[in-house]
Symmetry: C2
Subunit: 647 residues, 2 copies
């Protein structure tokens, strides 16, 4: 550990000994912190200058290639996933707990520790904001960089997504307005010497068509037409454009209305950038070559015969990789107490995996080495985030977690127990601000089901009770007892929001104990095999984890499942798109509901990211701005150039 | 000068002594180069670590604040603008000459020298590409970074532009669907203790309305309505969304078609990001505080009474500044021969200023210090780029150029002389590949008029004849004689594309001589005063520089001029939106046309950037992709991670 980092941590801890109560605004805590130059943090992680690129003085992009080298030198650290009970409007503090736990293990227990978290979208930063960099005395800094451009990964995803979108409409247009031979001659133009060659990017399409000729002049007229005409079904283009802002007026639009497009208008829409399949690819990929394969496999539309048209068919895969070659490198930052943090990817947790990237976790585990700890966060409740962590992320990476942390709060469990609804801006009903042991007893079933579910994967569970000032000991005792009965290894109270890493030291010790106890074991198992039918996989998740009685399928869902199976995508794992507020499909069914049938309305295929997405309900893929958006508060101090008003 | 830079330059020059002929592809030359770590380049420029932030090992963002400090220490260098004759499809090599000249002055003549160039849009990189980083042995490296994300400035502009766009439609929607009091209460919500305050960002609108109350509860019902209701004229919203891709299907679209938007659809469109007024603001601004003022002054639409609605009225200015706070810092890069280059801004040359930023030029002049040289490029032909450099950029910055370089080629002047049309991909007509002194004699009038025009600003001119292998001495002699008669200080042959800086050393000596001769003089003058009428300013440019007989105005143009004058924008300078291919409005009128009337079809106002834009014709503000876009060639080497196929 570099002396400068140790000194900075001591300084941070000394400052934190002068904790303010109540805790000041997040940005005030963050901007008052001691920030260690990122090269010092990197050196303390054992990275050489060739291993990373600085982006300013406090962020760096770490090469995706270092994990192999470091792993050979140091081995791999324990792998801990942090998940939560089903979220409520009260906030459970899952990100804050991940960061607080990292501070505890790194700065207080003096273990090698890295937290791996997702990059937040900028849309909500300017709309309705919930902190994405932790909160209170458990934060990633500089928090304003974390919440704004960071190192540009989301911008890169937006550019790649929109290049592909532009390519699709332009190709359709050129095919509609040109005859076969003209199209072919423009795709394979002659050089000044009269010869012509295929671009390397065209070879994949030629192979797909079963054409093994390499001289464009040797193709028959039929082969030329097949090569040049993708014959995209314009009515069924599934690839949408993206923007990283809450722009509700782009949800459904008509494009191509300028006379230059000759009347070929089409209805489509924008998603928010983090909902792009390219973001899902970034989170699931394991190397540059794997990313190239995944990007090329992305399906943008069916052709007129119903066959999938991919990025590879458009010859655009290499350009997408060129746009994404820096984004594949996670961003190294630090906590308020100098613990290294890798920020990478931020896929939607409903329509995508909701976890940070495999690559960041791989780098983190190699960076901390044997005996160290990587804490990685799974989005939403454990029924979604942790299930996808196991069945999608670990399936793809081959990594096996040593321990899962499940975060719960007294207040949220009261809501699961039938407490009155809460709404932002209105005073909390008294049940939440006064002791109510009975409500906690009723609600704790939500937590215990998550514990039982997690243990089905063969992973030990430590429960983190994230303390609020209005909690009582009797309420904590109810939670702890229920958690232990459900099979948790431990259930620990923590106060990291108000106290920083010190407040999560006991949690850190429990996590370390669980990991060490699990070190030699080989209990990890996935919930289903890929090689079963799509329906069987959906039903396994629905019955085993959600505890549904069964699953029903709309006609559309039935047809899509048949089509994807026919197209050869049946062996892909499942990425459920379900509300995060309940184990069921109904957000109002709090606690641990039973006796419901899970309705699948539609099914999508993310062939590049590598999963089938059953839709349990409809999900807005681009939020809107409220009447008073967060941007009213945001500004820059003209003297210090510090960003103001982020929360 | 740091030893490491000197050593690297010697190494580059040694390598260049082994020049290949014909010159290899740009990317091959660029990737074979010796790249100096950017911190070494920065140190050689006298920058301390606090003055810049590294972005990777070969790019850095330089604080906009260093110019004042360095200027006090070192004084300011000579200021040289590089412009060209009216462009032709043959390419004149203006960027390449700027870079070649920088290499000559920095690495061969051993002067302190910085080149200031624009950041290219990524759209054309994947569409139809002309190198934006120079070419041959005169390039900015790493060229793939230059042509892709660079340091994210264009992404920041896109985010800011689209946040503002989302805010406009969302605000209109909320005003359409809420009554005055509800709207006001949502804009100024009560805190838990029942009080409420205005956000700091709301004070500008209150002042504009003449309301000096600071307690939201003290406003009358009428004042509340006036504050809360911007009353934007939906039919006349001029602010458009942007994307940094060639996406022709977004030229004209209908938004708001999702049922959630309750039928409030609207026709609008996307521009390419570099056409955003925010890009124009970035190029014209002089400090963070000035940028804040300009962003706040941007007009997005008229209200129902015809009054301009601004970003300040939306309370969004601070958020725009937060998004743009890194983009205001120019990016430091280097030439193939280690000369520092500042890359910053890239506004369209027709609807905006077409020049790189004032801030980069200020930093550059302070960095090179007294006796050093800053070379800054002006887009398109000198009738547009150089005119805007003088009348817009220098007017705003107060800086005065010591010399103008005008780049010309034998081939392009032949085309201006009436040579046959050329089209890409077809063999060149023999006139261009064989001596034709008569054609050059006819075409040189295009060059001489640019020389005469430039001298009207009181600035000496050096002509750079950018040599092609098919040129002959007799043709060069014609150009030189005509240039000297027209008043050029010198006319120099250069071969930097094939030979690097060495090939522009004579040009460098001529430029140095012209600057030194002009050092003490105070001949610089602007073409018009701001405080005259809009029409008088337009007519001055049209008659003095374009040599039009007069100007005609459409009804729409007349109405807009009256409106902008009424709104108080009459004193702004003029940013002509005219074809770059001719002095006139007609691209086919080559050479030095006379006897035409300049037709103004429409007029816009860029109140934030600070100019009135008369439209002489229509300009596509987002290009399209051809049948075979450049992206077919682009990819990444999986081993080296180098980008392939950029040109």
């Amino acid at each position: 550990m570099a002396d400068a980092v140790v000194a900075a941590r001591r300084e941070s801890i000394r400052k934190l000994a002068e904790l303010k109560s109540p805790v000041p605004a997040d940005i005030d805590v963050a901007q008052a912190a001691t920030v260690v130059p990122i090269r010092t943090v990197a050196a303390a992680c054992g990275l050489t200058e060739a291993d990373y690129e600085p982006y300013g003085h406090y962020k760096a992009k770490v090469s995706e290639k270092v994990s192999e080298k470091l792993k050979a030198e140091r081995g791999e650290g324990y792998y801990v996933v942090v998940a939560g009970i089903n979220p409520t409007p009260l906030g459970e503090g899952k990100s804050t707990t991940t960061i607080g736990l990292a501070q505890a293990m790194g700065a207080h227990l003096e273990k090698n520790c890295v937290a791996c978290i997702r990059q937040p979208s900028m849309g909500p930063t300017f709309g309705i904001k919930g902190g994405a960099a932790g909160g209170g005395y458990s934060q990633v800094i500089p928090m304003e960089e974390m919440n704004l451009h960071l190192t540009g990964d989301i911008h890169a995803i937006g550019a790649a997504n929109n290049l592909l979108a532009a390519a699709i409409d332009a190709r359709v247009f050129h095919e509609l307005t040109q005859k076969d031979e003209a199209l072919y001659d423009r795709l394979c133009p002659r050089k000044k010497d009269g010869t012509r060659v295929f671009a390397a990017s065209m070879l994949k399409r030629l192979r797909k068509l079963g054409i093994d000729k390499t001289d464009p002049d040797q193709l028959t007229a039929e082969e030329r037409a097949a090569f040049a005409r993708l014959d995209i079904d314009r009515e069924k283009i599934s690839w949408r454009r993206v923007v990283d802002m809450n722009d509700r007026f782009l949800r459904k639009i008509t494009v191509g209305q300028n006379p230059t497009e000759k009347g070929y208008t089409r209805e489509t829409g924008f998603d928010i950038t983090v909902a792009s399949e390219i973001m899902a690819v970034l989170a699931m990929t394991t190397s540059l070559a794997d990313m190239e394969r995944r990007l090329g496999a992305m399906v943008v539309a069916p052709d007129m015969k119903g066959e999938p048209v991919t990025a590879d068919d458009l010859g655009i895969t290499g350009a997408l990789v060129a746009l994404m070659k820096d984004a594949i490198k996670p961003t190294l930052m630090q906590t308020l107490e100098g613990t290294p943090v890798l920020v990478h990817a931020g896929p939607f947790a409903n329509i995508a995996s909701g976890n940070s990237s495999i690559i960041a976790d791989q780098i983190g585990r190699a960076m901390v080495g044997a005996g160290g700890y990587v804490l990685t966060e799974a989005g939403f409740g454990a029924d979604i985030g942790l299930e996808k962590f196991m069945n999608l992320k670990c399936r793809s990476s081959g990594m096996k977690p040593h321990c899962a942390v499940i975060v719960a709060t007294v207040r949220a469990l009261k809501l699961h127990g039938g407490g009155p609804a809460v709404s932002p801006g209105k005073p909390l009903p008294h049940e939440y601000t006064n002791e109510d042991v009975e409500l906690v007893k009723k609600g704790v079933a939500n937590l215990t089901r998550h514990i039982e579910n997690t243990k089905k994967f063969g992973v030990p569970v430590v429960v983190a009770m994230n303390m609020f000032p209005t909690d009582t000991e009797a309420e904590h005792a109810v939670i702890k007892e229920a958690a232990m009965v459900a099979g948790a290894d431990d259930c620990v109270l923590c106060t990291h929001h108000a106290e920083g890493g010190k407040g999560a030291a006991a949690l850190g010790e429990a996590v370390a104990k669980a990991c060490e106890a699990n070190a030699g074991a080989d209990n990890f198992r996935l919930l289903y095999e890929g090689e079963t039918s799509i329906k069987h996989k959906i039903e396994t998740i629905a019955k085993e984890l959600y505890r549904a009685d069964g699953v029903s399928y709309s006609e559309q869902a039935e047809a899509k499942i048949a089509m994807f199976t026919e197209q050869g995508f049946g062996a892909l794992p499942i990425c459920m798109a379900k509300t995060q507020y309940s184990f069921s499909h109904d957000a109002d069914l709090k606690g641990a509901p039973t006796g419901f049938t899970l309705p699948i309305g539609d099914v999508r295929c993310s062939a590049g990211a590598g999963f089938i997405v059953p839709l349990v309900g409809a999900f807005p893929t681009i939020p809107g701005l409220p009447t008073r958006p967060a941007y009213y508060e945001i500004g820059v101090d003209m003297e210090t150039e510090q960003v103001l008003g982020l929360s």
